[in-house]
């Protein structure tokens, strides 16, 4: 029974924790303009993150060590450092976006300027990272993040032509008034949003924090293979709601407030309040995950003590990095940079860093010295190689598309 509970809890938190500010904004932007014609990009991204999260989770369960720890050892300090700089930069950018996302979500609740909220959000995130137990942080925020299921309910309540929506998703037909380059730009953005590097760092490091062993591999696989796809469905529901309510009015999404309006249209104040709970929980949860991931990546690379399962005094460097990252994120947001623009940038630059993040995981999970009989099978290698090609294509295309389309305009 406790095993069933662990699986169920893991799946629920995986669903609730899947969506972050990047998913919220990007899916609403794409949905309002392209409907579900880009749902395939989310689907591909979800399969990709499942493939690599399963690998990194298996590595953690078998070796008891997290990704960066092994990357440096297996590929050497130079490749490891390149991997660290690329991944950590993107993770920090995402951390800034998530803290901005929490502030924007709270702004919708209390109607206070987000700049007044940002320092308090920074303090709250740091306190959670410092004081809260790992399991409580992950489970509570993940479960509250499930409030975003309200987008699925809203989609159903809006009474769409399901056949038309499915056809749009299946045929991937671009609206006639949109350029192919913009379509490609948003495909890369959705792919990047689904495969954000921090997700695998957090997943594998979290596995070490929770003391996974080979006996936990089945539970881990259930979390990944059921939880993440259901989280991906939430993303599609956000896009569907935006298409039905914002699309006909030619509204282009450039604020978090617009993302919630379809829920208000379908379910009124109660629905919107639930959506707001989901916004706050999803962004706060992701802020904690990205903040921890910054600390994990640096300390694991340099071989310092890390993790929330050890006392702060024993992992002083790790906690100092968490503090500095929180201060840095708050300082960045206080320059009045638009958190939505930071979010858009983080999603696209995520795509650029993907090969440097995922290639080492594929190498390590194929190494019998670390993995023993849990080394990648044929299917994992075939999918891993296929997605490595895809992430390389996305990485090469991301910046030119961003410049050419002026960030999707």
């Amino acid at each position: 029974m406790s095993r069933f509970f662990a699986v169920a809890l893991g799946i629920l938190t995986a669903i609730g924790g899947f969506v972050d500010i990047g998913d919220l904004v990007t899916n609403a932007q794409v949905g309002a303009r392209f409907g579900l014609s880009l749902a395939w990009a989310t689907l591909v991204g979800v399969v990709g993150i499942c493939v690599f999260a399963e690998m990194s989770g298996r590595v953690a369960a078998v070796s008891g060590r997290a990704t960066f720890d092994l990357v440096r050892e297996r590929l050497g300090p130079r490749v490891g450092f390149l991997n660290l700089v690329a991944s950590m930069s993107i993770t920090f950018l995402t951390f800034v976006a998530e803290i901005g996302g929490v502030a924007l979500s709270l702004q919708l609740v209390v109607s206070v300027h987000e700049l007044l909220l940002v320092p308090w959000v920074g303090v709250a995130v740091w306190l959670i990272l410092w004081k809260a137990k790992f399991s409580i942080m992950e489970n509570v925020l993940g479960l509250f993040g499930l409030a975003l299921v309200v987008f699925g309910v809203a989609l159903w309540q809006l009474g769409p032509d399901w056949g038309g929506l499915l056809q749009q998703a299946a045929t991937a037909s671009k609206p006639a008034d949109e350029h192919g380059s913009t379509y490609a730009y948003y495909a890369v953005a959705l792919f990047g949003a689904a495969m954000t590097p921090y997700e695998v760092f957090f997943f594998s490091s979290g596995g070490v924090e929770e003391g996974w062993s080979t006996q936990d591999i089945l539970v881990m696989r259930a979390n990944v293979l059921i939880g993440f796809p259901l989280g991906g469905l939430l993303s599609v529901a956000i896009a569907g709601c935006a298409w039905l309510v914002l699309g006909p009015l030619n509204i282009s999404v450039d604020s978090l407030g617009q993302v919630g309006l379809p829920v208000a249209a379908a379910l009124g104040k109660v629905g919107l309040s639930v959506a707001l709970l989901g916004f706050v929980s999803a962004t706060l949860g992701a802020a904690c995950e990205t903040g921890l991931s910054v600390g994990y990546s640096i300390t694991q690379y340099f071989g310092a003590q890390w993790g929330k399962y050890v006392r702060p005094r024993e992992a002083a460097v790790f906690h100092a990095i968490l503090l500095l990252a929180s201060l840095g994120a708050v300082a960045t947001l206080m320059t009045m940079v638009d958190p939505i623009v930071v979010t858009e940038m983080s999603v696209v630059f995520s795509a650029v860093a993907l090969p440097l993040t995922y290639f080492p995981i594929l190498v390590v999970s194929n190494d019998p010295d670390y993995m023993g009989d849990q080394v990648n099978g044929h299917l994992a290698n075939a999918l891993g190689s296929l997605f490595l090609v895809l992430v390389c294509v996305a990485a090469v295309a991301a910046i030119p598309l961003m410049i050419y389309t002026r960030m999707g305009q």
């Binding site: 919708l108 009015l249 030619n250 617009q258 309006l261 104040k269 919107l272």
Partner: protein
């Protein structure tokens, strides 16, 4: 790390090359920063896009402001149905007003070519009017002046027509 790698990194020549690369990167960053400051500085010359680029920007600006006006229309409709809490209304109204204001001031600050002067006046006038209307919406929303909503909704619908008309005046 191998001995040969270690040896090459401690080589003075290697170290000097490394310092030179870092110094070059720092100089490049400083030059780019100065260039950026020069370009965006309010005291500098205004940006002067060519004919095609200006038309492109005018279309984009009208599309974006049209989206802001449509957002305000949707907000008023949902508010009239009592579907949006007060603080949320205020933030959405303010975001729409700010976004439209940013777009309008950006386009107004560009230096049009003489051939585009008439279109420039038409487009910037519409954008300015839309900004004023969105300010009125925000004021009413903050005051919970529900009695004004029908008139504002009507004005927003008219503004959409005006924006469409202005779009028609900008050659594609």
């Amino acid at each position: 790390m191998t001995e040969s790698e270690s040896g090459s990194e401690s080589d003075p020549g290697h170290r000097m090359r490394g310092l030179a690369v870092v110094a070059a990167a720092a100089v490049l960053a400083a030059v780019l920063s100065l260039a950026a400051v020069y370009v965006v500085s309010p005291g500098g010359a205004p940006q002067s896009p060519d004919h095609e680029a200006w038309l492109d920007q005018a279309h984009t600006a009208l599309d974006e402001v049209s989206s802001d006006v449509a957002t305000a229309q949707l907000l008023l409709r949902l508010t009239a149905q009592d579907k949006v809490p007060g603080p949320y209304q205020q933030v959405v109204a303010l975001d729409s007003e700010n976004a439209a204001g940013t777009v309008a001031s950006h386009l107004s600050g560009e230096q049009p070519e003489p051939a585009d002067q008439k279109t420039y006046t038409q487009v910037t006038t519409v954008l300015s009017d839309a900004g004023d209307l969105l300010s009125s919406v925000r004021i009413s929303v903050v005051r919970r002046d529900v009695g004004r909503y029908p008139a504002l909704a009507h004005a927003l619908a008219k503004m959409q027509h005006k924006i469409s008309w202005a779009e028609g005046k900008v050659p594609s």
